[in-house]
């Protein structure tokens, strides 16, 4: 896919990720401005579902996102950074505006619940960046990683069961700006993929 950062630029992030006890990186300018606007325009072609549960969050969402070009590209990016072969579990797009938020309780209710290591990727396809609306990851109630709201950035965080996430409240300083976040979850496939054997004889009928 065009507009996605190349592996040479991802290499430093891969090294940083590998050295962390709990991997978490923000890759700035992972998506070109054109890729960001194209993704956002496509997302806006379908309707978002408004969510309001005061104790969990307020936002609009498209669940079980199907983006046949972008998601495979993000899967390849995530696989490279975490240095593992990953498969897509699920994806959604959040749209937040002034007054919106998503708390840890919402994360608990909406994230995929699977055994094993899960990697959460957040691609920011907003029209602009702000000093607000950070994505905060916590462990044991304390934050250990804060991702800024940067258009074109991709954040990858290793999710253990003890890791929780919240999307910070967007206050009135956001004015009429909107934040668009594609959020995708990846994991190792259940069945290990292997290289084919050196000699494969394919029998065909007829």
């Amino acid at each position: 896919m065009k507009g996605l950062v190349d592996q040479m630029h991802l290499q430093p992030h891969r090294e940083v990720f590998s050295q962390m006890s709990l991997g978490a990186v923000v890759i700035q300018k992972a998506l070109s401005p054109d890729a960001v606007s194209t993704a956002r325009e496509r997302l806006e072609q379908d309707s978002f579902t408004p969510i309001f549960l005061a104790h969990r969050g307020r936002y609009a969402v498209r669940r079980h996102l199907d983006a046949p070009e972008l998601l495979p590209a993000l899967r390849r990016l995530a696989s490279f950074v975490v240095d593992d072969r990953l498969s897509l579990l699920d994806a959604c797009c959040l749209r937040l505006q002034r007054g919106d938020y998503a708390l840890r309780r919402d994360d608990l209710a909406t994230r995929p619940h699977v055994d094993g290591r899960v990697y959460e990727l957040t691609a920011d396809v907003s029209q602009g960046s702000s000093g607000e609306a950070q994505v905060v990851y916590t462990r044991g109630g304390s934050s250990f990683f804060v991702a800024p709201q940067l258009s074109g950035s991709v954040t990858i965080v290793e999710r253990h069961a003890s890791v929780e996430r919240y999307d910070r409240y967007l206050n009135h300083a956001m004015r009429d700006r909107r934040v668009h976040r594609i959020r995708a979850w990846f994991a190792r496939p259940n069945v290990e993929e292997t290289e084919p054997p050196p000699f494969v004889h394919t029998r065909t009928q007829g």
Partner: protein, 211 residues
């Protein structure tokens, strides 16, 4: 020091008797206006300003708060007087012995908020919430205390709900005292202050920990 004019004990006592705190909707709460005289409010605002304080940011809030516990003599005297004035009514309402009242000073300035939460979540010692509004700037927009009605969700988590609906808001009026029940369904928030600022003292009657 009850009787020294820190609070209007007569107004608080009568209101409490009539309040039926536990039967109000969407959950137990009482609003008592003019519970604290204007000159006392002003004196307490000055005391809050002299307390050590700092900006606090977390998942559900961004605000300015004084350190715990209170240390200014005026704040300590007020806390003691308010506790004494409230205790009979509070103990009748909660049908239990109330622990000490522990207040803290808060200043909500532009962009500050406290998102929806139930005070019981994470602190089982809290018995009853108390808010005293001391000052609100003339240009204040926001900063109301909003209460939510709830429809229960799955029974596995008493703090989760299938639906939540706004059930009205209480303005931050100086001198106003608000008592809030504590429980999983007692969902409330302080709406974002979009302009101006407001100062309050708030906290809880907290049952004393047993060894």
């Amino acid at each position: 020091m009850p009787g020294d004019g820190w609070v209007d004990e007569d107004r608080i006592g009568k209101a409490l008797l009539a309040s039926r705190l536990r039967r109000s909707k969407p959950f137990g709460h009482v609003v008592i206006d003019e519970a604290v005289p204007p000159d006392t409010c002003q004196r307490l605002v000055e005391a809050v300003a002299e307390e050590p304080a700092g900006r606090m940011v977390d998942e559900i809030y961004e605000l300015l708060a004084t350190e715990e516990p209170l240390s200014h003599p005026d704040l300590l005297a007020f806390q003691q007087a308010l506790e004494a004035a409230l205790r009979p009514g509070v103990e009748a309402a909660i049908e239990a012995t109330a622990g000490p009242l522990q207040l803290r000073g808060y200043r909500f300035a532009e962009g500050h908020y406290l998102l929806p939460h139930a005070d019981a979540d994470g602190d089982a010692q809290r018995q009853l919430g108390v808010v005293v509004y001391l000052a609100a700037s003339d240009d204040l927009v926001g900063g109301d205390l909003e209460l939510f009605d709830t429809v229960p969700g799955p029974p596995v988590d008493p703090f989760d709900f299938a639906r939540t609906m706004s059930a009205g808001a209480i303005a931050a009026r100086p001198g106003r005292l608000v008592l809030l029940d504590v429980g999983p369904k007692c969902l409330h928030q302080v709406r974002e202050v979009e302009r101006g600022s407001r100062v309050s003292l708030s906290g809880w009657f907290r049952r004393e920990e047993t060894a």
